[in-house]
C-alpha cells in the first residue's frame, strides 16, 4: 500500500515534469460541432482522433465541454410543454392568424402573382376541357418552370403541391 502510494507520487512527479516542460505549441483550432459529434460517437478516423485528443490535452475549455456533453448524452428526453414546441414551430413559415394582413415583399409579390397566374391557367384549361369534352393535359414542364422562377420559400398562399 505504502509502496503503491510512493510509486503513484513518483508517477505524478514524472507527469508534472513532462507537463511543465513539453513544447506543445498552440493547441490548434477547437473542433467544430460535426467533428466533436463524430468523436463522441466513435465514428472517426485514427488521424482525426489523434488530432482531437491532442487538442483536448491542451485545451481545458474543450475538455470541460467534453465532460459535460457525455453527461448530457445520457439524459432521458424531457416532456416538453406544448407552448415551447408551438413557439418553435412558428419560426418557420408561420400561418397567418385570422384577420392578419401581412404585406408582401417584392419577391413574395412576384411569387404570389406567378402562382395566381398558374392557377388561373389551370382553371381555364379545365373549364375549356370540360366544354370541349376532351381530356385536358397540363404542360408539366411549364408548370415546373413556373415553380423554379417563383420558388416557394415564403408564405404559401397557394398550395399547389
Amino acid at each position: 500500500m505504502q509502496r503503491d502510494m510512493e510509486q503513484n507520487k513518483e508517477d505524478e512527479l514524472l507527469w508534472q515534469r513532462y507537463r511543465d516542460n513539453i513544447d506543445r505549441g498552440a493547441p490548434g483550432v477547437c473542433p467544430d460541432a460535426n467533428s466533436l459529434a463524430a468523436y463522441l460517437e466513435g465514428n472517426i478516423s485514427e488521424n482525426t482522433l489523434r488530432e482531437i485528443e491532442a487538442h483536448l490535452a491542451g485545451c481545458p475549455d474543450c475538455l470541460t465541454a467534453l465532460e459535460e456533453l457525455r453527461s448530457l448524452l445520457d439524459l432521458p428526453a424531457g416532456n416538453v410543454p406544448v407552448r415551447i414546441t408551438e413557439r418553435a414551430k412558428e419560426l418557420v413559415n408561420p400561418i397567418p392568424r385570422p384577420g392578419e394582413i401581412r404585406p408582401l415583399s417584392g419577391i413574395s409579390w412576384l411569387r404570389t402573382v406567378g402562382w395566381a397566374a398558374a392557377a388561373a391557367c389551370i382553371a381555364a384549361a379545365g373549364i375549356t376541357g370540360m366544354e370541349l369534352g376532351s381530356q385536358v393535359v397540363i404542360n408539366r414542364q411549364q408548370l415546373t418552370k413556373g415553380a423554379d422562377l417563383f420558388p416557394l420559400t415564403g408564405t404559401n398562399i397557394f398550395n399547389l403541391k
Binding site: W15, D32, A37, E53, A88
Partner: protein, 190 residues
C-alpha cells in the same frame, strides 16, 4: 441516418426540405428533437444556476431553434449526417447556446469560464509561447490526455474510459505505457 437516392434523411426527415424552410418538415423536426434540447437546457441550467426559471429555459430552447435557422438555416445546413447522429450534434449546439444564454444574462453562480468549442467558427487560442525543453512526440496525444486526466483532474480509469469512449483496461494500459516512456526519456536525460 438513412441515405437514399442521394438525399440525406434524419430518421425519416428530409434534410434538404428542412433547410429550405418546408413548414411540415420543420414541425416534425421540432416535435422530434425538442425533448432532447429541452432536457439538455434544463440540465445545463441546473448545473450552472442555483435557481432555474421556466421562462429562462423556454427562452434558451427557443434560442437553440433560432440559432439553427438564422441566416437561411446556416447552422443546420452545416450539419453532416454522415458523421454523427442528429441527437449528438444537437446536444452540442444546445450546450453552446445555453452557455451563451447564461453568459449574457450574467446569472451564473458557478464559473462559466469553460465555454467549450465555438460551433460557429473555428478559433485559435491566444497566448504567449514560453521556452520548453521537451520536444513533442514523446507521448502520443492519448497518452498525454490520459495522464492529464489522472493527475491534473484526479479522474479514475473508469471515469476516463467513459469520457474517451474506451474501456477502463485501455486506460490502464495507456497509463502504464505512457509512464514507461517518461521514465525512459528522463533517465536518458538525467
Amino acid at each position: 441516418m438513412i441515405k437514399e437516392r442521394g438525399r440525406s434523411v434524419i430518421i425519416g426527415l428530409n434534410l434538404k426540405k428542412l433547410v429550405r424552410g418546408d413548414r411540415k418538415t420543420w414541425n416534425e423536426f421540432v416535435d422530434r428533437f425538442s425533448p432532447v434540447i429541452y432536457a439538455a437546457v434544463w440540465k445545463i441550467f441546473r448545473t450552472h444556476l442555483t435557481d432555474v426559471n421556466d421562462c429562462d429555459v423556454e427562452d434558451a430552447v427557443q434560442g437553440v431553434f433560432l440559432r439553427l435557422i438564422r441566416d437561411d438555416f446556416r447552422l443546420l445546413k452545416s450539419y453532416n449526417p454522415r458523421r454523427a447522429s442528429p441527437v449528438t450534434w444537437l446536444t452540442i449546439v444546445t450546450r453552446s447556446t445555453a452557455i451563451d444564454c447564461l453568459r449574457r444574462r450574467k446569472l451564473a453562480t458557478v464559473s462559466l469560464d469553460a465555454q467549450g468549442p465555438d460551433i460557429s467558427a473555428p478559433r485559435r487560442p491566444t497566448g504567449t509561447a514560453t521556452v520548453k525543453i521537451i520536444p513533442p512526440g514523446i507521448l502520443s496525444p492519448r497518452q498525454e490526455l490520459v495522464l492529464k486526466l489522472i493527475f491534473d483532474r484526479g479522474m479514475d480509469a473508469g471515469e476516463i474510459a467513459g469520457l474517451l469512449g474506451v474501456s477502463p483496461q485501455t486506460i490502464r494500459s495507456t497509463r502504464h505505457k505512457a509512464l514507461v516512456k517518461l521514465r525512459k526519456f528522463f533517465s536518458s536525460k538525467d
